[in-house]
Symmetry: C2
């Protein structure tokens, strides 16, 4: 009998060891490192949330203080490697193996520690791919999660910051793992229950609220006229052309420009209600003017954004909110929504090659791609038609019309040279070099060229759906690559032919005068403007306030 | 202010109207039709669970009794259209529009009612595609769900039958919809909480337990020697060849044969621990012998299966189970696991064409494809390597080796003629005809040929990854199509060349003697055998008992 209960037995032993440090489910902050040493075993798979935005920072600091003699060779399985403490785990030998999705600020540190041989890299996943493996071959033995509040039974209230937690906790708790939650406060009655208490083993009330990264705030003041021009082309040449209602945007100044042009440029084109109504999107402050102008019907979010709580609470028709009034996010569900229920993904990249393969990986940074590989892919399992999807499919199709399928629109929005005047269009991605240097089985490609349908630069739009040969595709890309080497090596005659076939469209082909791309077109030109648009419900984090 | 709270206001009005029929959250069974008439509005999107297996049957019957004068033009958005009452809604004019995934026994009725103009068909989705749309453009106004038990606060216990409910309820409750649950019993303290009570508005204790469809039970007594032969080829020619550890199987006698050959045929080949260790799979009774023989490490399930409760409770090392001891399923999570965290999907089909496109749709039945389009697709967003995935990718790749990607193995397991001697291999899918007859925008294709990597018939295995031209692909398929017209029209010389290149492999090429394909090879030959293997923990439903 016992041979089928080894996980349950191990769990019971861990709970017994941990009980020395707990009163009921409650553990004092000063006892947390000892608790972790008691309930974690060397070699365990551990998820130390570690999301895109919210961080179990107190638990991370406590784990990093553990004795590497007791806790070593941990296998870290979490979406975000964002805090210095995440890196410390590897430097100190507490952790050895790593499977993750996104590193942001720690991209350089990961590359450094990897080169020093202190990280055994599993893979860099797209978010829901990692969550998927939680249920198959990367189930955590221990999950260290984070919530706004708990009650004495361990029920958790997360409010807007649910993010990865439901998936992480379900996989861990139902496979006899240990779940430990840090919370900002203990309450007698929670505003709502996001995670049932019987999934939670220990609760720690931390001295400070958990850290949240304001990842999705872009200051309109930093949007350039070149970005405005590209955004105008995206709206007129793609959103209007295909009738895109359901979409996900990346976070960048160029997509922020699109959001801020909806109530102005797009409104003048008569597009209200016809495009950009249903979103899978984090609560971007730059979308506030479009929401207030009645453009947006509904938004489901992966996570939250600092300063947006009261605004979202006041706009329940737009956001998913609980009966307590606060917003609810869920990265697993929203990524599935972005994969299967949107018609367009638009994002940026640092490099793009002649086949349209893109990557944000550079030789000295391993940053991960987060959700982009998922949402920037054409899901072959999709079976529901929509007008944009069918139109894209018909442009791509040159086979049996009876077997015609649709296509997801996957758009790369770039400037031919990045900020530091580094060319974005390249003959070969840097990540290929990194792959051979680090002996990776797979080159870090963010979105593969065969999923990309359009590339927009300041020079125009390349429609890759209409290309019929690899040569046409290459020249379509060269034809919008500006003054980069890639752009200057174009075949001018062929590019002109592609333009006649509308595979390349210049601003003037779209009836857009580049001189009209002025900052005055933006519905808000500063963070302060956004705050005013929101009726002062949006409370910008201090680092975005200059007043 | 009010303009941003229309959904909340509507919800409050509905709750006020419903309160006439409720004491706290509890509603008497006899009041349910009146409750539904009070809280549902004409034109509402309604999810009447309607899962693959568990059914909110009492709520379905009550809704079907509603007055079409009060409740009409409902838009039904649910995965399963399985009960006669689901069809009644359309016949009576209570419902008008339909978006669904799977109909099983009602496939014929849907076709009939559709032809009569009483159903406005949205689309036939793969499961998680429909769930994805719950968060974007098909959010239910009302969800009618079903659980094993509730407490007075509306907390729900679902035990093994969680299935679609978490996704349905989250989308509905957080967008100010109404959630009504039928339960088998009211308890003071639940064994565990699967859904927090603050998401549930009304609870009905039904006179009878809810209906569950035993969809995943196959009697080993019905497995034929031809299916055993195909299963032997799958194990030796694909599972062993690629080293498949993480997988999903369809439910059919041929995949049941694979399960039952693991402890016998595969064990003799020395494959234990090398293949079929981690599963995204419903709790198939035919997998019991492999579990008991130590083949299986872990199973995550979409839903449950009738009769398996006590067996799963006794095997928590294998199944995901709660601290109360009962199994936990989740269709959304498990479908994501099947998409992104498995290396192989293997399933059957009724028809397959010369490009490898497959469909189970016939001219007079609209059955839907459930999870097959999702799990039978190559996810372009996947970024983690595995040996099987890389091997399949290298076979398919003829481009830049530095940009080599892996491929998911998608295998169709068929017999050249189906039970009624209808050929499975066809020049043209019947579903194309149905599509033009019904004027569908999209022909109902289960899995598109470009995602299929292998087809297995009793004549051999066709490896489509190795085909380099459409002609080779066509002849590879003809070459295993047996005595069907498609098979007889093969180019014999080309087929022999394909065999030399191992694109086609016959049983003898794999070292398999068809005469060895005997029923004696099956680890269990009857339902009774399965029960014995389980130590009598498996309790087969009465329809499978002949003793």
């Amino acid at each position: 009998m016992a041979e089928w209960q080894t996980q349950r037995k191990s769990r019971d032993e861990r709970l017994t060891a941990g009980s020395a440090f707990a009163k009921g489910k409650l553990v004092a902050p000063g006892d947390v490192t000892a608790l972790l040493e008691a309930v974690i075993r060397p070699g365990d798979r551990v998820c130390l949330e570690g999301d895109n935005q919210k961080q179990a920072d107190f638990l991370a600091a406590c784990l990093a203080k553990a004795d590497p003699g007791r806790l070593h060779d941990l296998h870290i399985v979490q979406s975000g490697i964002v805090l210095p403490e995440h890196i410390d785990l590897f430097e100190k030998g507490i952790a050895k193996k790593l499977d993750f999705s996104y590193s942001g600020p720690q991209g350089g540190a990961i590359a450094r520690v990897l080169n020093a041989g202190k990280i055994e890299l599993g893979a860099i996943h797209t978010y829901i791919e990692l969550f998927a493996r939680y249920f198959v071959d990367l189930t955590p033995h221990v999950a260290l999660t984070v919530a706004r509040a708990a009650d004495r039974n361990g029920n958790l209230y997360m409010g807007p910051n649910t993010e990865d937690s439901p998936a992480v906790i379900e996989a861990t708790a139902f496979k006899q793992g240990i779940v430990i939650a840090q919370v900002n406060e203990l309450m007698d009655t929670l505003p709502r229950v996001d995670i049932p208490g019987d999934r939670i083993d220990y609760v720690i009330v931390t001295p400070k609220p958990f850290y949240v990264e304001p990842l999705f705030t872009r200051d309109p003041a930093s949007i350039t006229e070149m970005q405005i021009l590209a955004a105008m082309m995206a709206i007129k040449g793609i959103y209007a052309e295909y009738g895109i209602k359901r979409l996900n945007h990346g976070i960048g100044y160029n997509t922020a420009a699109i959001e801020l042009l909806l109530p102005t440029f797009a409104e003048k084109l008569g597009l209200k209600g016809k495009i950009a109504t249903h979103w899978a999107l984090n609560p971007h402050p730059t979308l506030i003017p479009a929401i207030e102008s009645g453009w947006v019907k509904q938004i489901h979010s992966f996570g939250s954004e600092v300063g947006m709580d009261e605004y979202m609470r006041a706009r329940p028709d737009i956001y998913f909110t609980g009966h307590d009034g606060s917003m609810s996010s869920n990265r697993m569900y929203c990524q599935v929504a972005g994969l299967y229920a949107t018609d367009l993904f638009i994002g940026s990249t640092l490099q793009i090659d002649l086949q349209g393969n893109s990557s944000t990986v550079t030789a000295d940074r391993i940053a991960g791609f987060g959700g982009a590989p998922n949402m920037g892919s054409d899901p072959h399992g999709r079976r529901h038609p929509s007008d944009p999807w069918l139109k894209a499919g018909s442009e791509a199709n040159d086979g049996n019309p009876q077997l015609m399928r649709g296509r997801k629109l996957v758009v790369q929005l770039v400037e031919s040279f990045s900020e530091k005047m580094v060319p974005v269009f390249v003959e070969k991605l840097d990540s290929l070099e990194l792959a051979s240097k680090l002996n990776l089985e797979l080159a870090p490609v963010m979105i593969y060229g065969d999923d990309v349908t359009h590339i927009i630069s300041e020079e125009g739009i390349a429609n890759l759906l209409l290309c019929r040969t690899p040569e046409e595709r290459e020249q379509a890309i060269r034809g919008i690559a500006g003054f980069t080497d890639v752009g200057r090596r174009r075949d001018r005659a062929m590019v002109e032919k592609l333009r006649e076939r509308k595979i390349i469209q210049r601003p003037e082909d779209l009836g857009i005068n580049p001189l009209d791309a002025q900052r005055g077109l933006l519905a808000a030109q500063s963070i302060r403007d956004l705050m005013h648009w929101s009726g002062n419900l949006y409370a910008p984090p201090s680092k975005f306030r200059n007043w």
